[in-house]
Amino acid sequence: MTVAIESAPLLQIENLRVYYWTQAGPVKAVDDISFTINPKERFGFIGESGCGKTTTIMAILRLIKRPGRIEGGKILLKGSDILTLSDEEMRQSRWSRISLIPQGAMNSLNPVMRVQDQIADAIVTHRGAVPIRELRERIGDLLETVQLSAEVADMYPHELSGGMKQRVCIAMATALEPELIIADEPTSALDVVVQKAVMETLIGVQERLNASMILIGHDMGMTAQVADRVGVMYAGKLVEVAGTRELFRQPQHPYSQALISSLPSIREKKRGGGIPGLPPFLLNPPQNCLFHPRCPHAVAFCQETPPPMHRIRTSHMAACHLLSAPEQFDSAGESDGGVLGATKAAAGAEAPSGHQTR
């Protein structure tokens, strides 16, 4: 499951910012996030809807639409910044280097083109004309890798079930053997049994290609099962990054803790759970730590200073004052011992009680 971390990361995101310019002002959909993805690694993003996950991956593909704009930062793919590429160079790198498995496979296939033509489109555009027979063979092979019969090539999308469409999208995404596959909720519209099967197919293909993968999951259980490392996003910020096991066992950021403990499971019955309050309105977000209005441990200091990314272990980072400036909580604790107690419990290495397996 854990992949040995090689020296050179495949993808390095540095201080990426994406704003949407509305009439009322900028919405900071992605605000100053940095992370890296290593070769062959599966990186999962979790967070409530609207926290900037999809915007982040669209930025990596440079497909942000007006009124959105990439305001700054670097997206280094094998060391070179794709934000400096010309439009034509970027077009050429799409799909051949970074491919996408879209959110709603239901509507992601062109309804008036046969499956074969849609896959062929990607191949021919990037690899030049290929003899028809060879092309057909190649497409047949691709469909086979996602457990579809070759007849599917001649079908139109409306003739396929949801799971089959999603498999077609996977076949298409791997057609050019890209280095990075981005999967945006690849299974959220499917039935549970199908979800699992499609996910297994996806992982199989990704491992065969030795590609890296970014996975956005509506279903955090799925992310826990599949990802090597996980990033937690909240209101456009990356608040925690850690190995999957570490994150789900010992989440450090109060938001991650709440998010993970709120998940229903068939391993235990919980009472309560969930995060109080609402994600912030990004036109007028709270100051500094964006989570403080909903945070059980918040003190005045959280509103005054932005929390820096604190490195807990080599591969585990979280942006919370609890971790990087505990003295603030100590001084606050002098007036209110309760906060200190809660703080220590939360910052401690022990998993929150709500998360133990039986």
């Binding site: 497909l63 799409r94 296939l109 489109d121 990607a122 298409m172």
Partner: protein
């Protein structure tokens, strides 16, 4: 394409014909008094104005079966229509209505087919380009200008064209289909065709320019919707070339509802075009219609209407039969 689909389309084809011809039957009989009886009476009195009027009157009596009960009259009328027998022109008796229509129909059909196709293609392309991101600003301005012509009726544009381009500037002939003195018998040579096209240009322009805007508008609306679809995002992510995304992914899908709309606007186009013909004295159905109105030539009025409805119904049938070929989903589901 399933058989039920074809049968259903044929059903609609006949329904259109039936409604239109029934209206044609009912309308004269709604008139206060009986205009046909009155007309016959008038003809009997005037006697001399129309040649062989006694014969005509007899034919009329028989044809309209004025002494029969209404349902019988209706059946006789429908039976005659089925044989394309529309009776005789009053004004040009003994010429039949079918002969008169046959002389005028090619001009109208020719003009309309050409202009409708050109209008449709131009409008669709322009509408799609209007919202496409890489269309230059200048192109958008031109298209927007044509879009703004959408509300102007054909006939007003025709009037302006006649007055400015034909009359004041003298660039185009303002009436007729060929130059005076040039007769078809002289031969159907190249010069004749050039002359024919030259004379058709202004009427055609009026129809095209006044019609493009509507298509631009419809296509723009649909394109905006299609551009927001997931499959467009995926096409872009696939790194396809701009032109391919535009043609195969965006336009190809946005065009489908326009195609359906084409069937529905035909009636409107034909109505408008008849008046344009009148303004340009173009010897098609519109001009014949006007002449018939002025001489109370009821059989010709009805005949022209009937033939135009048939033409439209045929066009719609063709469009409907082509449609499933454009939209693979159609055989399975269509409202």
């Amino acid at each position: 394409m399933s058989l039920t689909y074809i049968l259903r389309r044929l059903g609609i084809f006949f329904l259109i014909l039936w409604v239109a011809s029934t209206l044609n039957f009912v309308i004269p009989r709604l008139a206060p008094g009986d205009p046909i009886a009155a007309l016959i009476g008038e003809m009997e009195e005037q006697g001399a104005t129309v040649e062989n009027s006694a014969e005509l009157i007899n034919l009329f009596r028989e044809r309209f079966g004025l002494d029969d009960p209404l349902p019988i009259q209706y059946l006789k009328y429908m039976a005659a229509l089925a044989r394309f027998d529309l009776g005789y022109s009053i004004r040009f008796f003994p010429a039949t209505v079918s002969q008169i229509v046959a002389a005028a129909l090619p001009y109208t059909i020719g003009l309309l087919t050409a202009t409708s196709l050109i209008t449709f293609v131009l409008g669709i392309l322009a509408g799609a380009l209007l919202v496409w991101h890489s269309t230059p600003q200048f192109g958008r301005a031109v298209i927007t200008f044509f879009m703004m012509l959408a509300p102007i009726p054909y006939y007003l544009l025709a009037i302006i064209f006649v007055s400015v381009l034909a009359f004041s500037l003298g660039w185009f002939p303002y009436s007729g289909v060929v130059s005076v003195g040039r007769l078809a018998e002289e031969g159907f040579d190249f010069g004749y065709i050039v002359d024919l096209v030259y004379h058709s240009l202004l009427p055609a322009f009026s129809i095209i320019i006044a019609g493009v805007g509507g298509w631009v508008l419809g296509m723009r609306g649909m394109m905006v919707t299609v551009l927001g679809e997931d499959y467009l995002t995926l096409a872009e992510a696939k790194g396809l070339k701009d032109r391919r995304i535009f043609l195969r992914y965006a336009m190809r899908n946005a065009i489908l509802p326009q195609f359906t709309a084409l069937a529905i606007t035909l009636g409107y186009v034909v109505s408008g075009a008849t008046i344009v013909e009148l303004i340009f004295s173009y010897p098609g159905m519109g001009l014949r219609l006007f002449e018939a109105i002025n001489s109370n030539d009821f059989p010709v009025i009805q005949g022209i209407t009937f033939f135009l409805v048939v033409s439209i119904a045929v066009a719609i049938l063709i469009i409907d039969l082509i449609y499933p070929w454009l939209d693979p989903r159609i055989t399975y589901s269509r409202k």
